[in-house]
């Protein structure tokens, strides 16, 4: 069963890249009783070995990333406003007017110049990131410094909601992947498998690089969210993937050309199990597969993703049925890969 309650707990945690401790602690508590070993490496990745009914014929690593995009405080000015830099790819259009939480507990807002005081030329333009700032209510630098420190990370504050068969929440990228892997670890598996929960995906797939080196898998499944553009005003050929269309399989993105045989195997597995799946209709984005597939002498890698709208903004949206069916497909695909010897 796909576990929405678990996902809600994961989405409530703050874990901007490089500051994933809260997410890591939560995941360790969830998985430790079900694993042979669960260790944290020098980068902060969790590497967990899970025993199955039989030894695997192919050493398989399943990957999800713990970190999320956010902001980092770079400067506190004399009036107590905080300047920031984005961590990971954030469109400046989604920052203005958002509520945030700084350093795990201090509420703040990203203000905007009142519409009444703007020139006509300003109204249709997003404010450049360099002109944005956080307001925590401090009236001086000294006051602000009592509440926040330079280098504190900043997360979007956003609701979690499951109306209308959807899941809306912050950091679904990639807590949804984490939830699926935790759920698998808490289940009985047919073969031994390695699970890694990685740090720093959003700043250059850096955690998975060292995790893949350490684990040295023969095959990898990257469990991710990917860009669904099936929204108003986007023509069909540019929608990339659709909510409700099932797991998304990639043949290629900006970081990886995926293993063709595993890609075909995933399609066959979905067809045989009568699980919906769709193909990502764009060569866009990238994920931990980019680092994993080129690790050491190469790792046969596939990405199975959840279609997610509004990636890298305050609140994303996935479909509950995709969350369920993707979890099922990954379970079956993992069993087939781990259960077949490499030739």
């Amino acid at each position: 069963m796909a576990n929405i309650k678990l996902l809600e707990q994961l989405c409530a945690l703050h874990g901007v890249s490089g500051d994933e401790e809260a997410v890591r602690d939560f995941i360790l508590a969830q998985i430790t009783p079900y694993t042979e070993s669960a260790v944290v490496d020098a980068m902060g990745n969790i590497i967990a070995e899970k025993k199955g009914a039989q030894p695997a014929k192919t050493k398989l690593m399943l990957n999800a990333h713990m970190d999320e995009v956010g902001l980092i405080v770079t400067h506190i000015d004399s009036d107590g406003y905080l300047k920031f830099a984005p961590v990971g790819g954030i469109d400046k259009r989604v920052l203005c007017g958002r509520s945030v939480v700084i350093g795990g507990g201090v509420p703040g807002v990203i203000g905007a110049k009142p519409v009444h005081l703007m020139g006509a030329d300003e109204r249709g333009k997003a404010v450049p990131v360099g002109e944005l700032y956080l307001d925590i209510g401090a009236s001086s630098r000294q006051e602000a410094e009592k509440a926040v420190r330079l280098g504190d990370t900043v997360c979007f504050a956003a609701p979690f909601d499951t109306q209308n068969g959807m899941i809306r929440g912050r950091a679904l990228d990639d807590r949804a992947g984490c939830a699926i892997l935790i759920d698998m670890i808490q289940s009985d598996l047919p073969y031994d498998m390695t699970f890694v929960f990685c740090v720093q995906e959003e700043v250059g797939t850096r955690g998975s690089r060292t995790a893949a080196y350490q684990v040295r898998p023969q095959a990898a499944i990257v469990v991710e969210t990917t860009t669904a553009a099936d929204i108003a005003g986007v023509p069909e050929e540019k929608q990339v993937c659709r909510l409700g269309g099932g797991a998304v399989l990639s043949f290629m993105d900006k970081g990886t050309i995926y293993d063709r045989a595993y890609y075909d195997l995933a399609l066959d597995t979905a067809r045989e199990a009568q699980l919906p799946c769709q193909i990502k209709q764009a060569v866009a984005g990238g994920n931990d597969a980019g680092a994993i597939h080129a690790s050491r002498d190469g790792v046969r890698t596939i990405a199975v993703s959840l279609a997610c709208r509004y990636l890298h903004s305050a609140v994303g949206q996935i479909a509950q049925e995709d969350f369920r069916s993707t979890r099922q497909l990954i379970m079956k695909l993992a069993a087939r890969i781990a259960g077949s010897a490499q030739v």
Binding site: R93, K113, G124, P128, G137, R168, T227
Partner: protein
């Protein structure tokens, strides 16, 4: 201050777009009832409370508007997305990717459509509101069951406390003013008044002040104070165009405002050591004061403004101290002969 914060958060959490202020009006009515002999909601949706002496010659009216900016559903497209028009002066730059609440058959959480950076054009352009749409995750048929054209949409934003008695929420424009009026009524309750006092929480300010216009006609006071919000200092806004957050109410000076009332407010603020600041305008004020003053044969009108940052976004910021001081200043003014 804790009590004032609770009052304000309660008011901000109740929806009230122009012409559809029902929830906010009910919330405000409940908050006013302990202090007024009579509170009613009229057919324009205005909340009108009365206290003091009905027969006194001096009849004072305090006004704040209860509506807030939002959007209205204009179309449900073939894929179930809601298209919309602004209901009041919405800042479109805060809309892409924003969580919103759609007040359909029930309250639904939605998101304003936007593309992720992986796919978006890097031109920083923000579309006009009529080119944006709200995603409820529904098909057209489902959406039509749950949402009607004309239903309202609000930016979601839970009120939150910042440092220094400062708070952030959507709708502080002008629930901050409503809170000041209710707090003023509380300060005046229990002591007999020598005048009559009407509290008018008026509708539709953001679309043309029709609530204040009709409400004032009904009340026809001998003098009125309108309480709204005005621009507070923030980066990127010239200091001479705004007040300072936390420095007290801004007393309005303008050709359309009553000079004597303004002088009396300044005099009382000085006497009672209530911090205040001046806001000078060269013509109409862009508030309800403009229509209140020309109602029937005319009403002497003053304007107090509560400094506010980030007006018309979902993260407006005010200082609770400014609301409290506005209430105290009005209470003293009303007691003063």
């Amino acid at each position: 201050m804790e009590q004032l914060k609770e009052l304000l958060f309660g008011l901000c959490s109740a929806a009230g777009t122009p012409g559809d202020e029902h929830f906010a009006a009910q919330q405000a009515k409940k908050a006013l009832e302990p202090y007024c002999s009579d509170v009613a909601i009229d057919h324009m949706g205005n909340v009108i409370g009365f206290m003091g002496d009905k027969n006194a010659e001096r009849q004072v009216m305090l006004d704040a508007h209860i509506d807030q900016i939002g959007m209205v559903v204009t179309h449900i497209d073939k894929d179930g997305f809601l298209h919309m028009a602004p209901c009041g002066g919405v800042d479109r730059r805060v809309l892409p990717g924003a969580p919103v609440t759609v007040y359909g058959r029930e309250a639904f959480t939605g998101i304003v459509c936007c593309l992720p950076p992986h796919l978006a054009e890097d031109d920083g352009k923000v579309e006009p509101v009529d080119k944006m749409a709200v995603d409820l995750g529904l098909t057209k048929a489902e959406a039509e069951q749950k949402v009607a054209l004309g239903d309202r949409i609000l930016l979601s934003g839970r009120p939150c406390a910042l440092l220094n008695h400062r708070v952030s929420s959507a709708a502080l424009d002008d629930r901050a003013g409503c809170a000041a009026l209710i707090r003023c009524a509380q300060l005046l309750s229990g002591k007999p008044l020598t005048c009559g006092l009407t509290i008018l929480l008026s509708t539709r300010e953001e679309t043309g002040s029709q609530g204040a216009k009709t409400g004032t006609f009904r009340v026809f006071p001998t003098e009125a104070i309108a309480v709204d919000v005005s621009f507070a200092d923030q980066p990127g806004v010239a200091g001479h165009k705004c007040g300072k957050l936390g420095a007290g109410p801004m007393i309005g000076v303008s050709p359309v405002l009553d000079r004597e009332m303004k002088d009396k407010l300044i005099h009382i603020a000085k006497d009672e050591e209530i911090p205040y600041q001046m806001e000078v305008m060269g013509g109409t004020t862009g508030t309800n004061a403009d229509v209140i003053s020309t109602t029937r044969s005319g009403v002497r009108t003053a304007l107090l403004s509560i400094p506010l940052r980030y007006m018309h976004t979902s993260v407006e910021v005010v200082d609770l101290e400014d609301i409290e001081r506005t209430a105290v200043l009005m209470a003293s003014y009303i007691h003063h002969r």
